[in-house]
Symmetry: C2
Subunit: 157 residues, 2 copies
């Protein structure tokens, strides 16, 4: 079933996904986009990194989060994409061998005043490992299509 | 010369980089991290995408921005990494064939009270194409080491 603006409720919580983080992928991403030694040199990172070992780039953690969102949510959602993201944080490093999952809570819904065919949904998102340790938190702001654009009933929401 | 906390001034502006966006790279990133048709299907995107053609994933634009930051700034900076990012926005889509550069303005410096060896620097960052059209804006919050940890003079800053 396709998810429209009307199908999301404030307070609703969605949890999904299992992304296995591998050392090969951590290295490949970092070599291309974030070539700092604590992301690209396994031995040096194990011995010297204040992060406690080879860690994924924060942008890699964000990208793996996006893959989980696409596979488990946006593939079946009538979305116009994200306006942006507020309060992106990396409370703990992501390590190879961990498995990431995502929890999203709807915190605000605003029907668009200028465009009656869509609405804005703000969520609290957390990406965590299997022990529940948070790796990334953010507030995505996403545009969804409305199933019934601009009906009187929905304008009153 | 290594850039320390003391070397950055509020109001200072840095501009750098030239990252050429290729269709192959847009497709490779999107297939792995953001497999939505407007990022992965060139012909369909050209004909149907409201973005006006095949566009890079927003997380890809962020990752290319990180590469420019590493190559032109963090490689020579005494940084402890980013705490996070506020107000991440994608005002326009990024297209293959464009060349991205980054402008960073220092907007706030706060010496750490608990750890005299470091300070927090907040910046306004814009990633734009060669015509100056903004593709990504955000406020990174980054920890830098202090050259002279906790000296009396610097505590007064």
């Amino acid at each position: 079933m396709t998810v429209y603006f009307e199908d999301l409720s404030v307070g609703e919580k969605l949890s999904f996904g299992a992304y296995e983080v591998t050392e090969d992928e951590v290295l490949a991403f970092a070599e291309q986009y974030d070539p700092q030694w604590f992301h690209t040199e396994p031995e040096r990172a194990r011995e010297q990194s204040p992060l406690g070992g080879l860690a994924a780039s924060g942008w890699h953690t964000a990208s793996m989060t996006m893959r989980l969102l696409v596979d488990h949510h946006f593939a079946d959602a009538a979305s116009y994409g994200a306006i942006g993201v507020d309060e992106l944080r990396w409370p703990n490093p992501t390590f190879p061998g961990e498995t990431l999952s995502v929890t999203v809570e709807v915190i605000e819904k605003t029907p668009s005043e200028s465009k009656p065919d869509r609405g804005v949904v703000r969520t609290d998102l957390t990406t965590a490992n299997a022990d529940g340790e948070p790796k990334l938190t953010m507030q995505p702001i996403v545009l969804y299509a409305r199933r019934n654009p601009g009906s009187a009933e929905e304008r009153e929401e």
